[in-house]
Symmetry: C2
Subunit: 215 residues, 2 copies
């Protein structure tokens, strides 16, 4: 297909397509003549991946390029792809307190979680604890242990999705896509569960979705 059709199918403008090609995120098309280049389905798929990383994941183009290089490097084990993708997603910049770091390490010991020392989740979670403490909420033991049990379920599901994706390339893509999209999915479901539970606890009389009158 020509660049105009690729643009239409992927929803990415021709200018952005050229930009992603120059930056190494998208393989070049096949030159078929003076001023004409052919693209195929793999370019459509790749553009969707790029948009998911940049739009939903909030990755900078350079970080998306690094993640995509990891996908394309077939010698790289899936465990490494996880590490690279996790580190590319925007994260807390400030250094957490020792108290918060120690609290996260305690949870990790309790759950039997073993990671590399620079797993970005450690700083992210510890920073969140610091912010909770700054706003006067430091008794978070119950919250933390429930959250930890919850993310064990989530991580199992994440890894199952990766394992069921097919060959190594598809697995690597699922790792990458899943980090940002899984965050968004979790955030969405959490808001739904929160509201539902808050209605149940704080006032009655909300009608479940399936018993609502057709509107």
């Amino acid at each position: 297909m020509r660049i105009s059709e690729l643009s239409e199918q992927s929803g990415v403008s021709p200018a952005s397509i050229k930009y992603y090609t120059r930056e190494g995120l998208l393989p070049a098309g096949t030159r078929t003549g003076y001023n004409s280049t052919e693209y195929d389905e793999r370019h459509v798929d790749r553009l969707r991946l790029i948009r998911a990383l940049i739009d939903t994941g909030g990755l900078a183009v350079a970080d998306a390029a690094r993640v995509i290089a990891a996908i394309d490097d077939r010698s790289m084990p899936i465990g490494r792809v996880f590490g690279i993708a996790q580190r590319a997603v925007p994260r807390a910049s400030a250094q957490p307190s020792d108290t918060a770091l120690e609290r996260i390490r305690t949870i990790m010991r309790e759950r039997g979680w073993a990671t590399t020392a620079d797993n970005p989740g450690i700083v992210l979670a510890a920073r969140a604890l610091d912010e909770f403490a700054l706003t006067g909420r430091s008794d978070l033991d119950a919250l933390l242990s429930h959250y930890a049990a919850a993310v064990d379920l989530v991580a199992e599901a994440d890894l199952d999705l990766v394992a069921s994706s097919g060959d190594r390339d598809r697995m690597a893509e699922t790792v990458v896509v899943g980090i940002a999209l899984g965050d968004a999915l979790l955030q969405g479901l959490r808001r739904i569960a929160q509201e539902s539970l808050s209605h149940r606890r704080y006032r009655a009389g909300v009608v479940p979705a399936d018993r609502r009158e057709p509107s």
Copy 2:
């Protein structure tokens, strides 16, 4: 205390303190003379809340002002504060597909979740499903049901934290702080659990944190 001390204790510059006061996020201090204003601990607490909303939550100042007004309105039930805070946190703008919306509504029925029709989590979760589908992953039944079970745990913990915060004002603050900080905490813990599990599944030999040599 003077504005200089308030600035030091809260880590917020005097210019920002004045800005937040003008925008209605921070109550004015008490004028104690020509060119001198007194602030107290409540100003320190409020500034920390403002920074948590804006820095960690990513809220625009106008949205933070709306959320803070909900906290300060003592006639507002906690369930409503949830709704306002959930809607203030930045979210997906594009409209999700009917397929994805229906998938989320099915999950809601299965879990017995009842919300108002415009709960922002519905669009957020449905958009994430659309993005997964765009990148070729549409068989998400197992993932969704695990995530749903996980967020039930999370939402229970969220509501418990709110309930244990003390009086109504503290509860309202915890609602607001908890939405953004809980997202960050979940993201962090998820990355830790992912890496730990991925090591366990894809290669052995990572030493748990508590059996590492002191560095």
